[in-house]
């Protein structure tokens, strides 16, 4: 488990907000996934502090909380790459040229990665960021513009 980066200016506020919101949940095992969502919304990912806090509040063994967190693909156990976008690589997006666009724009993979189906196949190809913002019907020029414009959401 990786600890939260407490050097940033708002780290204390974000942790405090997480703890405050966590306490609004009933202390029942059933609220494990909602607790993960609170942590990810407040902190952007699930650092050590959040796993410990959840285990403590819901009275679930730490190992079980951590094991469950690893089973959900959308829960992040590492700090996300801010400003990064992820190209959908579902069947519709692949067929609509997702890989061709990625090759053409030549943006570093840590800034422009790949992700599984984003379920907006009717607007393929699409990309998303860690805020869940989705942009559809992409072209090479549109992708290049994304990294210039502030469309992070």
């Amino acid at each position: 488990m990786i600890p939260f980066d407490v050097t940033s200016d708002d780290a204390g506020d974000r942790l405090a907000n997480f703890e405050k919101q966590l306490l609004t949940l009933p202390a029942l095992k059933s609220y494990l996934l909602p607790a993960f969502h609170i942590a990810q919304e407040c902190l952007d990912w699930l650092p050590r502090e959040s796993i410990l806090g959840i285990a403590n509040h819901l009275r679930i063994p730490l190992s079980e909380v951590y094991a469950t967190a690893t089973a959900y693909s959308e829960l992040r156990l590492e700090k996300p790459e801010y400003g990064a976008w992820y190209m959908c690589t579902g069947v519709a997006c692949e067929a609509a040229g997702a890989q061709r666009i990625m090759d053409a724009v030549e943006i570093a993979p840590e800034r422009f990665g790949r992700t599984d189906c984003q379920f907006l196949c009717s607007l393929a190809p699409v990309c998303t960021n860690h805020h869940g913002k989705i942009l559809g019907r992409l072209t090479e020029n549109r992708v290049r513009a994304i990294f210039v414009e502030d469309v992070g959401g």
């Binding site: 029942l28 095992k29 059933s30 609220y31 494990l32 996934l33 909602p34 993960f36 969502h37 819901l58 679930i60 094991a67 469950t68 089973a71 959900y72 693909s73 959308e74 829960l75 690589t89 579902g90 069947v91 519709a92 692949e94 067929a95 599984d116 189906c117 984003q118 379920f119 907006l120 196949c121 009717s122 607007l123 393929a124 699409v126 998303t128 869940g132 989705i134 942009l135 559809g136 019907r137």
Partner: protein, 499 residues
């Protein structure tokens, strides 16, 4: 300032009354993914609407995803005449009169009429308020149904032959009856996980008409005797969660989920749970584990959920569309329909409501949605556990048992069936939860075998057989289905080691 705030300010300034038309701005996931807001601002759509005395309605995608970003104009006294336009394909001189008067075949998104009574009848027309939904018929069916005895309702559902719209097509009436027979407390779980690539109809339904789902939930809860329902929505479907949660709050506040509206002084607690990814999370027993706070892995069956579901109690697990479809069963002529999610090599991808009575051929459907049949070698039904339908079979009728959850991907001549099949196999490998060996190891071996230059057909078939028979859930059980279908339909795609 949102579009609505801007509009309100402008309207107040101009004291505009008695609008002559409505201008629906489709701000669903599709609209936002195609920059509808900034385009409306750039084109001065709001000012235009105000100058033409049109009321602006911020609404969802109407199923015509192909048209996004779009607005739809409708005369207040018009009879369903509407016209959507995609902004990047037209000149910018939009004329509401023209939009209202021009009716194009392409805009009829419910392909086969009965849009007024079907599941999509309110798509793209609601402004997010309860009032708008009620004005267009929400909760009218429930009100009628609540005057009936529970047994009559269960019989009605059985007689309707409604089957599960999540893909398994289990008879809904039988499921409800089985759960109702067992001692409570009973639960309802709404499966809105929709984690199958290529399927996006439930999200559209949740965004476009959340009150229809709530109405279906209430009918189910009353008929089966449920007081607690969980709606498990895919964690990536942010707009769907937002829209459904808002509608639920409206229903709560107005007493629709309580004894003011429900018969026999019932009160139904409906709770939204957001998922957190994983194709396997759409499997019903995985959802049960997830809600209970356990690891999201499948359970052994039997026992089935109708006997031992959430916390060991009888539980009905229904797909979003199934419950929404319940609200259409009490009409004089209930249209048996199925929502499908269309994507790929077709002019008008989106969400369509098609007949579920197997009267429609693939040719008919594909032509109606703008496919050029000569350029379509095949379609893929249902994503990673789906099948290919070769063009030679396009004359055949669309059968519900083959359509799964309703994902239809139309291939183009330059789409490689081999690449798609390998991509689906890799997806299943990544998404396997690892709980059972046949799936955990089998999906890895299958991917490896398919990547060989010359594929050992015998080994592939043996492996798929083991996975089908021994996997704990249908992720593993159906992972070989597209492979088998590709082999059957496109035998020359791979070079094979003969059997």
């Amino acid at each position: 300032m949102t579009i609505k705030q801007t509009l309100l300010k402008t309207i107040l300034d101009k004291s505009s009354k008695n609008p002559v038309a409505k201008l629906f701005i489709h701000r669903g996931t599709c609209g936002e993914a195609t920059d509808i807001v900034s385009i409306c601002e750039k084109l001065g759509i709001i000012e235009l609407a105000v100058s033409l005395n049109a009321e602006i309605v911020e609404t969802s995608c109407d199923g015509r995803c192909w048209a996004a970003p779009s607005v739809t104009a409708q005369k207040i006294d018009g009879v369903g005449a509407s016209y959507s336009r995609r902004f990047d394909r037209i000149d910018l001189d939009i004329n509401i009169e023209e939009l209202t008067e021009v009716l194009d075949l392409a805009t009829v998104h419910n392909v086969f009429d009965d849009g007024a009574t079907g599941l999509t009848s309110r798509f793209g027309q609601l402004d997010g308020t309860l009032l708008a939904a009620v004005e267009l018929g929400a909760y009218a069916v429930a009100e009628k149904v609540f005057r009936q005895d529970q047994k009559n309702i269960l019989s009605k559902i059985e007689e309707s032959k409604l089957s599960g719209r999540g893909g398994a097509h289990f008879p809904t009436g039988l499921k409800w009856k089985l759960a109702a027979q067992n001692e409570g407390p009973r639960y309802l779980v709404v499966n809105a996980e929709e984690g199958e690539p290529g399927v996006f109809k439930d999200r559209h339904l949740l965004e476009a008409d959340p009150h229809r789902l709530i109405e279906g939930i209430l009918i189910c809860c009353y008929a089966v005797g449920v007081e607690k329902a969980f709606v498990y929505i895919n964690g990536q479907a942010h707009k769907a969660i937002e829209s459904f949660s808002a509608a639920l709050e409206q229903a709560r506040i107005s007493g629709i989920t309580g004894p003011e509206f429900l018969p026999e002084k019932m009160a139904i607690d409906i709770e939204v749970r957001a998922g957190a990814g994983g194709y396997v999370c759409g499997e019903e027993s995985v959802i049960l584990n997830s809600i209970e706070g356990e690891r999201p892995v499948p359970r052994f069956k039997p026992p089935f959920a109708t006997n031992e579901g959430l916390w060991g109690m009888p539980t009905v697990i229904n797909n979003v569309e199934t419950l929404a479809a319940v609200t259409t069963l009490w009409q004089d002529f209930p249209p048996p329909t199925k929502l499908v999610s269309l994507s790929g090599n077709v002019a008008r991808p989106g969400v369509y409501e098609v007949p579920a009575d197997e009267t429609l051929s693939w040719n008919g459907f594909l032509l109606s949605v703008g496919a050029k049949l000569e350029t379509v070698p095949a379609i893929l039904l249902g994503g990673p556990s789906g099948i290919f339908v070769h063009r030679e079979k396009f004359e055949e009728r669309i059968e519900m048992k083959n359509i799964g959850a309703g994902g239809i991907f139309v291939l183009s001549p330059n789409t490689s069936v081999r690449e798609i099949t390998n991509s689906l196999a890799s997806y299943n490998e990544r998404e396997s939860c690892g709980e059972c060996t046949p799936c955990r190891e089998g999906t890895i071996r299958l991917t490896e075998l398919l990547k060989q230059e010359t594929v050992d057909l015998k080994k592939v078939e043996e492996l798929i057989e083991v996975m089908e028979e021994a996997s704990l859930c249908m992720l593993g059980g159906m992972a070989g289905r597209p492979v088998k279908s590709a082999i059957e339909n496109f035998p020359t795609t791979w070079s094979w080691v003969e059997r």
